[in-house]
């Protein structure tokens, strides 16, 4: 994190893409179920899963020959790297989600507490290094080019303001199915 000693530097200088929630009719809502937002990171790894009837399932990062010798079945699964950006936020009207500094696109996983299937949101964006004042350090600004999402809980999604900076403006509108407004 860049140091800052000037009074003119912004106090809240976290650059986030702001997702605001609406129902299908376009009314602003507070989304009651807990939402967890994860970012799919580039790369992944093989995960080894060993199962045997009457025994506990074993998951390992490397092959375990001795479990196969004991009669376990082996399943190799490729697991992509991910990280949780927002953990179980409920009753929120909007979420502030960070964007990657250098990747051309972010894949976000919206997991809901009331629905088994998550939604995947895919955001394409350009990235810009931004310096307000030399003493305030550097930031990464973004310009959203396109967005798309699956439709498990999301009716549709749209870009409101493509410029992502630390002004906390509304960037993206998410319209959810079957959610009544607060009024």
């Amino acid at each position: 994190m860049a140091s800052c000693y000037s009074n003119n530097c912004p106090v809240d200088n976290m650059v986030t893409c702001n997702y605001y929630f609406y129902n299908s009719e376009g009314t602003s809502i507070s989304y009651a179920p807990a939402i967890t937002v994860s970012a799919i990171l580039p790369g992944g790894r093989n995960v080894y899963v060993y199962r045997k009837i009457g025994e506990e399932t074993v998951t390992a990062d490397k092959r375990m020959q001795e479990l196969i010798d004991f009669g376990y079945s082996e399943t190799i699964r490729y697991q992509r790297n991910d990280t949780i950006l927002i953990n179980k936020a409920s009753g929120k009207q909007y979420l502030e989600v960070p964007m990657s500094y250098f990747n051309p696109a972010d894949t976000l996983l919206f997991t809901y507490s009331n629905i088994s299937n998550p939604d995947t949101v895919y955001v394409e964006h350009d990235n810009f290094s931004h310096v307000d004042l030399p003493e305030c350090g550097s930031f990464s600004y973004h310009y959203i080019k396109s967005i798309r999402a699956t439709d498990n809980a999301i009716d549709h999604i749209e870009i409101v303001n493509p410029t992502v900076n630390y002004d906390k403006a509304e960037n993206i509108k998410i319209y959810f199915y079957d959610v009544e407004s607060d009024e």
Binding site: S3, Y101, P134, E135, Y141
Partner: protein
Amino acid sequence: MTKQRISRYTSMMWNQTNRTSRIMALLLCFFVFAANMSAQEANDSLALINDSLAIKDAEADSLRQVEKEAEYEIGGKIKPSKYIPTEEDMKQTFFQGFTVSTDLLNMGLYFFSSYGNIDASLRLNLLNTYFPVVELGVGKCDKTDFNTKIRFKTDAPFLKLGAPYLKVGVDYNLLKNKWQTNKLLIGLRYGITNYKCSIEGPDQTDPIWKTTGPLEVNSVSATSHYAEVVFGCQVKIWSFIHMGWTARYKMEIHTTKNLYSHPYYIPGYGTTVNGSYWGATYNICFDLNWGKKKPSVKQVVENAIEDIKQNPNEKK
């Protein structure tokens, strides 16, 4: 009768030999005069005093009349205690020459600081009152922050010295006596500049996606418009050389927006830490009369003949 007595006593006493006795004689005459003044003579003296007061009133009226005429000629309200332009002042030509000046303070910053500008200004002198100004200069910036190691550079599209800027405006001489060599000025400037910004810095690291990339922005073109309110003075040092300072309140009107940065430095304006700020200049000025309209020889001779006709007895 009293006057005859006084003159007799006076002449008699004045013939005494020493000075003390003469003074004593004068005092005695005064007391005699006072003692012998009758009521009618007192009335006479009162009438004389009244006459002298009336003469003074007439003089005051004539003075007021002169002042009123002066007010009428100048067209403004004036008071006797304030400066009144002479007839010679009123006859001055409209164009009084021009001044070439440069700012020493910002020149010093240009050479010895991370940012600064060099400029030259041309100021026309109209009636020693209005001064249309054109300022032309170049500004540069090469600032690296000690903590963040971010370097901000201002380049010019085609100049190595720095980015060019142009300011135009007008000054007004606030002094009552406009025709003295010193000036107290207030004025406005409008500035415009086109330049390129470059930013360099340490690599940026994404804290979530764990990727790293360079911080490097090269030659982003920008155009800025700004305004200045100028207050300053100028005093004569020697012959045509003057020096002066100005305090300038600067306001940024508009700068081309880009995603990378708001320019840290605008040539001719200064740093953009705030939307507006105070600046200063310390100027050396060369007050030149080149181009000033001078009366022709024929006109000078005609004026001299006219003066002689009007004042034939005056010796020059």
